[in-house]
Assembly symmetry: C2
Homo-oligomer: 275 residues x 2
């Protein structure tokens, strides 16, 4: 199986892709849009894209691409984001740390603790894995990067310090996307977006009532600007259940008929974080 | 009156500040945080901060600062974002366009229309007003910037083309912040955030029910990650009415008592976009 994944090798997307299928052939691409394109053009069987991080929030490009393409969510995967300080030297030798801007931000307190007479300098890279690739080429004991354990292994770096991130509850949720709907597993979620359409006061309440009166659990509600009008939102929602369940399909039909146009992105098994 | 405003002179924040008080003494600062700080330290009487754009969505720093400081919203101001191509040359002479990355993005189609044998090159600046300041210093007929009409006037640039933005419905909402609550005007809005607290399924529905059963109109609901746990959100909400109205204060009390801890940012007169 061919999997399109945000590259280079060793990104957290790669880590999620390995959780999905350890034996897949990975096709590393430069952007989230490229992942969607490769799946659309059937050059990859499936793609793995980040959708939401516990600190940074929703990933805009993925949310836009779900609306603009016809890919289905086949599976969700949630992984902890654990940054390691990696390189060749000892921790007291490090004078430069390279990584993606988010990783540098998420390890801010740890980086402060590395300061000696002069502060440690930080440098931004396009991804945490790109920083690891760079360190492997430089082999400089004074330079280190923040990256995943996987990236350290792939690029032959020593792990100088594990769990360098300040906030220990850092998780990212990924979607596996492809052409086909997933069959019911007995413990599913369904994701969709509801678009503005003759909106009126109380509309959101009426929307939620459709699910509440059927005792369908809403597990997520995220608003994003419609880009058309100030104060007009697209709501991204996740509910418990599969769209083939009678209760769910009735609710979605009522929503679309009476309140807002929707686009269903798919039903897929709920990920168990303890896994 | 001293007003703290995101600088340099000629930003859209400056334009909003002039709508608030044309005769105020403007103190231009480098960041949204600095605006809050100057007001907090009483070095400015009030501050003007962007809170939401119709295309880009919520302004994260402002939403965070409202929670982390004790400033009150005294007024909302909504202004249309109109980018002008400004410089010294004729439109056919322009080979370089400088501006903030969002302005360049919002004028993408227009910029394409300027391409001759070679494409027009774009350069990013820290703000649209900074680009105008730069153009004024260079006085190069081949270089132009995208900025507000106000910036063009302040820096003595010629307006080469008005309304260069592709999406004509581009608006930004600003808040005037200071220490004191605004008195009821008869047509007010109240803004608050509701924080995660022993969340359970159906919680958002119960929250909205509190307002719905009192026929209080919800004019905005925006979710932002709690930064603590994946899928846990802070909800930023705007409702119609003043917190001194009996109906509103009862609803907010019920919300806080039964469902979620809240922080009220203030009640202020609703801005009439047609103004």
């Amino acid at each position: 199986m061919k999997l399109a994944v945000l590259g280079p090798a060793g990104t957290f997307s790669h880590e999620a892709a390995l959780k999905y299928d350890r034996n897949a052939e990975m096709i590393f691409v430069n952007s989230i849009w490229d992942v969607f394109e490769l799946v659309e053009q059937r050059k990859a069987d499936s793609g793995v894209v980040p959708v939401e991080n516990s600190i940074e929030g929703g990933v805009g490009i993925t949310l836009d691409a779900l609306i603009e393409t016809d890919q289905k969510i086949k599976k969700e995967i949630i992984i902890p984001i654990r940054h390691c300080l990696c390189g060749f030297g000892g921790i007291e030798e490090i004078r430069e740390v390279h990584s993606h801007t988010q990783a540098l931000g998420q390890c801010r307190n740890f980086l402060h603790s590395l300061n000696r007479e002069t502060p440690v300098k930080t440098f931004q890279t396009s991804s945490t894995a790109a920083a690891a690739e760079e360190m492997a080429a430089l082999k400089d004991r004074k330079k280190a990067c923040l990256c995943s354990r996987l990236a350290a292994e792939l690029y032959g770096l020593k792990i100088i310090m594990e769990d360098a991130h300040d906030e220990k509850n850092n998780m990212t949720r990924f979607f596996v996307i492809n052409h086909a709907d997933a069959e019911p597993s007995g413990n599913d979620k369904t994701s969709f977006a509801a678009f503005p359409q003759n909106d009126r006061p109380g509309l959101l309440y009426e929307m939620l009532e459709i699910f509440s009166k059927r005792k369908i659990n809403l597990t997520k509600l995220e608003s994003r600007p419609s880009k058309k009008k100030l104060g007009e939102y697209i709501f991204y929602m996740d509910i418990k259940g599969h769209m083939k369940d009678k209760l769910i399909s009735e609710a979605l039909q009522e929503l679309e008929k009476d309140i807002r146009k929707i686009k269903v992105f798919g039903s897929y098994p709920k990920w168990d974080i303890e896994k």
